[in-house]
Symmetry: C2
Subunit: 364 residues, 2 copies
């Protein structure tokens, strides 16, 4: 890919552009990654050429140049974001680190109201990683990028010594465009505004936790990893849209606490209205986790003017991935302290505190 | 910083913009990084706010948003590049991983003929890293960015478990602009062209190797880590400029081998003309390394039409950092095989093969 490797890497890669998935099997002869795959020479060239470039082929990806030229609409605002991915296990029900690295960055642009256009990719590969696994993960990343309409235009790979990595760490930087005149931000949130979420919370966090901890629990639990672009674009039509965010690390509780920090206002959520899947609820009860603190990777939280709540909910529900959208609470003037309050189904209240230490607090 | 953390992080960071260095001491109370600094809650907010944002303050860096809006000239071509950094030790004579992460990406844009404008930053911090060290590294990164005229507009931090990282890994993605009409690339290289380098090779590789291996060797050896932007911009005025590259991983030998791969032409270098500092040469002789394969981090290799060699050398020599620039060889039609040939000072020839395996080949 463009600028792959410090020195760039000389590859004779000139494959026809493809929108379909390439052959699954890498022509690389090595079965495991060695430090030589990171030294700038022939092995690294093979890794880039026969694995990364094979999956990521697109018109702008040229592994022989230092920097990729990209096209941006002259009449649009340009946005950039970046995110690192260290999830374990590398593959989990409903996704893997490859698709996640696309969805995470696509979603950060989406909630800014932008349409993602380009990605850059960094890979830190631990010596000893199985090449077949790496191949699946990069294939998955490429598939997710195609589905989201983004092109990976530059990349870099580093091989780190055994015991100095986590198998594979990825980072993606995204560039997107937004039509001019859109204003979104936490500073636009007012007391009285409504809070909505695009679907059930805690799926990703629970699915990964189970896959990692091997509790022996099985079921229908899959990550919600996916793009929120369609939902975000649908919401841009709402008069009174204040702010959107994807509740990833730290979950719904952290996004709403951020809102409290930034605005000095309180957020009130209704437990009965926040969608949580039954298996997620069961696992949380069994293991002592709170689903409101668990990461989602395909959900969007929106704050809109009260009068626009109905319109927003209708648009979210009609968008792909938004069928289970819900109006879950509102923003209000703080009583003594600004905070996030959950009205429980039993009629009580509990405060969703800002996350302090791992492990996640047992309240659920 | 913008989009810092999956969920973004709510920080009340609103410090005045500063072009000068902030206080050296972080107000963070913790002395070492723990996993809690990566969980999206209060500790992570402190890390971002009191360490990263403190050093990286600039008008576009807002830690409360998902994606940063950037301004690009409508009449310029836009370039993007990315690079990962895993150097050890994290600090070495002449630089550190922070400044290196800026120079590496700035230089990849520079050799494409672009002026770097924006950076995004990913940090993978290993649990247990000393906060004071992290603070120095981020301060150094911020200083290098200021010196290069680039703004860090988005960032993300991940904390990885002890034994699953290398202290600190960084990735930077750079966005730059180039005036329209400039065409550069290995495909423009022709037999007869001249090859130049902007200064001595092997300084960075040798300095880091000595710092890492603790051979007990000391001396004047410092990394050449630095920007090549001025030199690259000066070369854009040369009629007949074909191609520029910074010889990082794999060094001068790898860049020229890349050229051979891409063009089918041979490259002939004259050992007597390739600048290598005496201490670098001594260390290489002692330890069995070849300076032509060692990374530079502040050098530029240029290929120009033969008739333009004098002009190119004059411009390089006059630019900051280019005082030791040299005309080191040329491109020629291959005899039997296209390859990189070094004319030795003794009148012999040796082939600089493409790097295969670590450790570096003993030839020097």
């Amino acid at each position: 890919m463009a600028a792959c490797g410090d020195p760039g890497v000389a590859v004779d890669y000139d494959a026809p552009l493809q929108d379909t998935e390439p052959d699954r099997k890498t022509p690389m002869q090595d079965t495991h990654i060695s430090l030589a795959h990171g030294n700038g020479g022939r092995y690294m060239r093979e890794l880039i050429d026969e694995l990364f470039a094979r999956h990521l082929a697109n018109p702008l990806l040229d592994t022989r140049v230092d920097a990729a030229r990209i096209e941006l609409d002259a009449d649009r605002d340009v946005f950039v974001t970046t995110d690192g991915f260290t999830v374990k296990p590398l593959e989990f029900p409903g996704g893997d680190i490859g698709s996640l690295a696309v969805h995470g960055t696509v979603n950060d642009l989406s909630v800014a109201g932008a349409v993602p256009r380009y990605l850059t990719l960094n890979a830190y590969i631990e010596e000893g990683l199985e090449v077949a696994l790496l191949d699946r993960l990069v294939a998955s990343l490429a598939r997710a990028a195609r589905e989201c309409g983004v092109a990976v235009v530059a990349g870099d790979t580093k091989v780190v010594a055994r015991g100095e990595g986590g198998g594979l760490y990825l980072a993606t930087t995204g560039i997107g465009v937004r039509r001019r005149g859109i204003e979104l931000g936490m500073d636009r949130v007012r007391a009285g505004d409504a809070v909505l979420v695009s679907g059930p919370v805690g799926d990703h966090g629970t699915a990964v936790m189970l896959a990692r901890e091997q509790f022996g629990l099985r079921g229908d639990l899959v990550s919600d990893s996916g793009p929120v672009l369609d939902i975000a674009q649908a919401l841009l039509g709402v008069e009174g849209l204040r702010f959107m965010r994807d509740p990833t690390r730290g979950g719904l509780a952290s996004v709403t606490n951020e809102l409290v920090h930034a605005t000095g206002l309180s957020v009130r959520l209704r437990e009965a209205d926040v969608p949580v899947r039954d298996p997620v609820r069961s696992v949380c009860e069994m293991l002592g986790y709170d689903p409101y603190y668990l990461a989602c990777e395909g959900r969007l939280v929106a704050v809109v003017a009260a009068a626009a709540a109905g319109d927003a909910l209708a648009r979210m529900s009609a968008a792909p991935g938004g069928a289970e959208a819900a109006l879950i609470g509102g923003v209000e003037a703080p009583q003594s302290h600004a905070r996030v309050v959950l009205e429980t189904t039993l009629g009580g209240e509990r405060v969703l505190e800002e996350l302090e230490d791992d492990p996640l607090p047992r309240i659920c």
